[in-house]
């Protein structure tokens, strides 16, 4: 059961959040410029790393904010948390 530090509300129980999967997958500015395979890459292909992953969470049952979390997918340790639009912190411990 994760304890997720919302950038606004502080540490709250996982049950208040929803995970939105891999972060930083920007919507292509011009979808028509992509072929089907490139579009599929945006739509479906995921890095799914074993280890540190940057992902999006929403504090659905709290402040309602989306934010980014850098989390280890093996230990579940949360390495850093940063707001939407902020760059990921470099070299998180």
């Amino acid at each position: 059961m994760l304890l997720i530090p919302c950038p606004w509300c502080g540490e709250r129980d996982e049950s208040e959040f929803a995970c939105g999967g891999e972060a930083h997958i920007a919507r292509p500015p011009d979808p028509d410029a992509l072929n089907d395979a490139e579009w599929a890459d945006y739509l479906f292909m995921r890095t799914n790393p074993k280890g540190s992953q940057r992902e999006r969470w929403c504090h659905t049952h709290g402040c309602g904010r989306w934010f980014n979390v850098e989390r280890d997918t093996v230990t579940h340790r949360i390495l850093s948390v940063y707001r939407m639009g902020e760059p990921p912190p470099k070299d998180a411990p």
Partner: protein
């Protein structure tokens, strides 16, 4: 290399010698420097692939590389439900092929996998469920697969201990049942395939982790492993939860996320539940093993994970649902809970076929429901590897479907993990 046949007679004969002369079920060979085909992943699917390659195709030398102990992935930690009542034709045909193979598997492998065709019920709790169920059952039957609709009284007759009272939060309005569905002993499926593949000359190498895939000129040439480099003409990746990690070694991206799927068993009790009961709406499924434990599963954890550990809230939801359906289970106790790493595709259907790299094949994305597919998946994948083209059964499950959009959306079938 032939291991002795198992039978009541060999058992009795060995008993006289205090079981001191049983030979190994499979060898523990050193990996050779090169093979014609290497299968990565010693789960049920990988072992079945190797077995059918050796048995039905002229594929040359074959090895299965397993990073841990064979069967230790999802094969060794699933809730063992087997059925073929899938909605879309493509799925129905593949899973039905698998069920048919299962029906003859103990004999085929000379290893009792304890297939128990005790019937699988899917419950409906609202009008929408009922409509879905009707659609599904009709499609399944027209595909020649057994399936029936039960009303609440019929559900009660099948499973007398289930609560069919209309006064509960989500009453049971009906169910579908596939009587040929059931459960099997999961470990035995892995061990039986391993033993039979070994007997046909397949090298099964445990504690051998693949750490790199060598590709040159768009063709796979070999693997780097924790036990050295192994050259290979063809490589089949069958690593379930770790598919993305392996694919990345060959520079491929997959439409896959790895999630924890949890399960648990109760303490063993005397037989009380005969069939397998699943409910999508309240999110739980349960059967009773031959040893007496209730084997119970529910939905996945919501975040990516390679940890085989899950969140307790899933277990709480699962127990609420279970006790609602079976009030008499309330005082039974959870004995052990665990998790597996399932690889889920956006359409809840697997990927079985070729990759953009020549000689590299992939079999993954079975997500929460691939145990039932083990023999069928291995059979079709062996064909794909041997012939370098998919069999008609797995052709629709190619990786290309994500670009074309021809997805096979089985979320309805897999809304609850099973």
């Amino acid at each position: 290399m032939t291991s002795p046949r198992y039978s009541i007679f060999s058992l009795a004969r060995n008993a006289l010698g205090y079981h001191r002369s049983w030979s190994r079920a499979w060898r523990s060979p050193e990996p050779q420097p090169s093979y014609d085909v290497v299968i990565v992943g010693g789960g049920g699917h990988g072992l079945a692939t190797a077995y059918y390659l050796a048995r039905e195709h002229d594929a040359g030398s074959i090895a299965v590389l397993e990073k841990g102990w064979l069967g230790g992935g999802n094969t060794g930690r699933n809730t063992t439900i087997i059925r073929s009542n899938y909605l879309w034709d493509e799925s129905a045909h593949l899973y039905e092929k698998s069920l048919k193979l299962y029906e003859g598997l103990s004999r085929e492998l000379n290893f009792n996998i304890m297939l128990s065709q005790r019937g699988v019920l899917n419950l409906a709790h609202n009008e929408h469920d009922l409509k879905e169920l009707s659609r599904r059952v009709r499609a399944i039957r027209l595909n020649g697969i057994d399936s029936e609709v039960l009303d609440p009284a019929g559900v009660k007759a099948e499973v007398p201990i289930v609560n069919t009272s209309p006064d509960v939060r989500y009453p049971i309005l009906g169910a579908s049942i596939q009587r040929r569905g059931g459960i099997a002993r999961h470990d035995a499926v892995a061990w039986g395939f391993a033993r039979a593949a070994d007997a046909r000359g397949v090298d099964i190498v445990q504690n051998c982790e693949v750490t790199g895939i060598d590709v040159s000129g768009g063709r796979v040439t070999g693997l780097r492993t924790s036990r050295g480099r192994i050259a290979a003409n063809k490589v089949g990746l069958v690593a379930a939860g770790h598919s993305s990690v392996l694919a990345a070694m060959a520079g491929l991206r997959l439409p896959i996320e790895s999630h924890t799927l949890q399960a648990m068993v109760s303490e063993p009790i005397k037989p009380i539940l005969h069939g397998v009961v699943m409910s999508n709406a309240v999110h739980v499924y349960v059967s009773q093993s031959d040893k007496g434990e209730l084997v119970i599963g529910a939905g996945m954890d919501g975040y990516n994970s390679y940890s085989q550990r899950g969140s307790f809230q899933i277990v709480e939801g699962q127990m609420g649902a279970l006790v609602e359906l079976f009030p008499i289970f309330s005082r039974l106790r959870m004995l052990r809970q665990w998790g597996g790493i399932v690889d889920v595709c956006p359409d809840a259907s697997p990927i079985v076929g070729k990759t953009p790299v020549d000689g590299l094949y992939i079999n993954c994305g079975w997500g929460t429901g691939g145990f039932k597919a083990t023999p069928g998946s291995g059979w079709a994948f062996a064909h794909t590897i041997a012939q370098d083209r998919p069999h008609a059964l797995n052709a629709p499950f190619a990786l290309e479907r994500f670009a074309s959009g021809a997805l096979i959306d089985e979320h309805g079938a897999a809304a609850v993990a099973h």
